[in-house]
């Protein structure tokens, strides 16, 4: 087994880890009861799963241009995903799908 074969297999293992995180997110989306818990499950492939897949692609590609593009993909994903998730969470709070006691535990005694 040469070095390139080892890198190819290692890249495949990273791809498999990313696919496992995608599956975990899908099961969490299906099983969790609440909007915030579904958001919590859904961020797994959006950040960690995608980064693992990109590392796997980079390990199999091993060319400078492709690795640069993979870095760009990761940076753009890390920049845009929190903005969208923030908007979705705020919309959930404003439409009353998130109880205030869910995110402010001190308010639990407050009848309002």
């Amino acid at each position: 087994m040469t070095l390139t074969d080892a890198l190819d297999v290692l890249g495949l293992v990273f791809l498999l880890l990313g696919a496992l995180l995608c599956l975990a997110a899908a099961i969490g989306l299906l099983r969790f009861p609440d909007l915030l818990t579904r958001m919590h499950a859904g961020t797994k492939p959006q950040v960690l799963g995608l980064l693992l897949v990109l590392v796997g692609v980079g390990l199999r590609s091993r060319s400078g241009l492709d690795v640069g593009m993979l870095l760009l993909i990761g940076v753009f994903q890390l920049l845009t995903i929190p903005a969208g998730s923030h908007m979705v969470g705020r919309a959930g709070f404003r439409t009353g799908q998130v109880a205030p006691t869910d995110i402010h535990p001190g308010r639990r005694d407050d009848p309002a």
Binding site: V53, V88, A91, Q97
Partner: protein, 107 residues
């Protein structure tokens, strides 16, 4: 020889896992009780598609797929932002009682 077999097995495993997760996410998009649940599931589906395209590029040496991934990671969040802006009201608190406007005060 065993290396080729390992690669084939891992390739089918990655493809099967991604297909199963996309199918489960589609179930959530279909039955999601609110619009925001569907939006979250759609975001997850976009990232699953990005993962699948990356895996396709890595497994078949189709490196011309990577600019597509850049564009998807740039504009993939715009749909959820638009739907969230459409769904939500403008204020956190419930709307206060309407203030009587100037014409009613004068009359």
């Amino acid at each position: 020889m065993t290396l080729d077999l390992l690669e084939v097995v891992l390739t089918w495993l990655v493809g099967g896992l991604l297909a199963a997760s996309a199918a489960l996410t589609l179930v959530r998009i279909t039955i999601g009780p609110s619009v925001l649940d569907r939006v979250i599931a759609t975001d997850v589906l976009v990232s699953i598609v990005v993962c699948a395209l990356g895996a396709y590029a890595a497994l078949t040496d189709a490196w011309t797929t990577l600019p597509l991934l850049i564009s998807l990671s740039l504009v993939g969040f715009l749909g959820s932002v638009a739907v969230a802006r459409f769904v939500a009201r403008d204020r956190d608190a419930p709307a206060p009682d309407p203030v009587p406007d100037r014409l009613e005060e004068e009359s």
